[in-house]
């Protein structure tokens, strides 16, 4: 083992959307789950499909395929549940993916100004250059601190 090669090495999860593969930093992934019932209700946020129930949490399902590969997914095999930061808070977000996910170690090259905002960097794997996704830029969220949040006097009352 060459220690110099491991200095910049990080763990990534490779995910598949259609024919393309993308990567996310492994520490941002909570779990990979089989598709379950998506509960839908009226809203005005594009790319949020609905919510799933997971371990008592209500997790929004964000289909990012249109943004990443230019078309919606016809099939989905799993939901990759990622941790999305909203300022000091973080929440789970479910991303539909079309194939198995893989855990790898690689070194990331940082993104440049020419890259899309949702690209955190690049890794090289199996002869391919793969975009590392920035989940915070990829999925919707408040532009600034949420000022219109309704107080939830009953939130977490059961705990």
């Amino acid at each position: 083992m060459n220690p110099r090669n491991d200095l910049g090495s990080q763990s990534f999860v490779l995910l598949r959307l259609g024919d393309r593969r993308f990567a996310m930093v492994a520490s941002q992934i909570a779990e990979l789950v089989a598709p379950s019932r998506v509960f839908r209700f009226p809203h005005r946020t594009e790319s949020v499909e609905g919510v799933i129930l997971r371990r008592g949490r209500i997790v929004p399902v964000c289909d990012v395929s249109e943004k990443l590969i230019g078309k919606n997914l016809l099939t989905r095999r799993f939901y990759l549940i990622a941790v999305r930061n909203y300022g000091a808070k973080s929440e789970w977000v479910a991303l539909p993916v079309t194939g198995e996910c893989e855990l790898i170690a690689a070194e990331m090259s940082p993104a440049t100004e020419a890259d899309a905002p949702y690209v955190a960097g690049w890794i090289s794997h199996d002869g391919n250059v793969i975009e590392v996704l920035n989940i915070d830029a990829l999925t919707p969220g408040p532009v600034s601190a949420p000022s219109v949040c309704v107080p939830l006097e009953m939130q977490e009352a059961a705990t």
């Binding site: 509960f39 209700f41 009226p42 809203h43 005005r44 946020t45 949020v48 919510v51 129930l53 008592g56 949490r57 209500i58 997790v59 929004p60 964000c62 999305r84 909203y86 808070k89 929440e91 977000v93 999925t139 919707p140 969220g141 408040p142 532009v143 949420p146 219109v148 949040c149 309704v150 939830l152 009953m154 939130q155 977490e156 009352a157 059961a158």
Partner: protein, 181 residues
């Protein structure tokens, strides 16, 4: 020997809710927020038409004593296919009378979860949050989220051309019924 006093687990707070349907979609509202439930027929006599530019969801105003309530078509508010509403919720401490399709049932909510931050548009004012009930996830509406203060101001200054005729007709049930698309 003294034993420490048993720690009391915090009492489970619950809230009575009314589950109601609008265009096939289930919603919940706190029963404490609903002052009255009226049939459309029973309100028709006191309803007048109102036209506010750019505000299609309100087509009628109901006089209740010295107060005017604006009838908000819930289907139009939520962007759902319009159905002919049958019931009206008079929402407490608001100017809103909410036109809905029907009541599903009464229930009890033990936990209201915040709307995930991924929902970042108008829906944040529409809902207090969501609750899981009987393996279903139901949005809990915010009674104050149906009309903004700007919309209320607009409605207050809008003409009510059908007022006299509707009052005279009295039994004009169709005056509040919305045409189904």
């Amino acid at each position: 020997m003294q034993f420490p006093a048993p720690s009391k687990s915090p009492a489970l707070r619950t809230e009575q809710i009314i589950l109601f349907r609008v265009s096939g979609q289930l919603f919940a509202v706190s029963s404490g927020s609903v002052q009255e439930v009226r049939s459309v027929d029973s309100l028709a006599g006191s309803a007048a038409e109102i036209t506010a530019p750019g505000l299609k969801k309100v087509r009628h105003i109901v006089r209740r004593g010295d107060k005017s309530l604006f009838v908000v078509n819930a289907a139009l508010h939520f962007g759902l296919p319009v159905t002919s509403g049958l019931l009206v919720f008079v929402l407490r401490r608001t100017r809103t009378a909410l036109l809905i399709d029907g009541i599903e049932k009464m229930s009890t909510m033990t936990r209201l979860q915040a709307l995930p931050q991924a929902f970042c548009n108008e829906e944040r004012t529409w809902y207090r949050g969501v609750t899981a009930l009987d393996q279903n996830v139901i949005p809990v509406v915010n009674p104050e989220g149906f009309l903004t203060s700007e919309e209320i101001a607009l409605l207050e200054h809008s003409p009510t051309p059908g007022a006299s005729s509707v009052k005279a007709a009295g039994s004009s049930i169709g005056s509040i019924h919305e045409p189904a698309e």
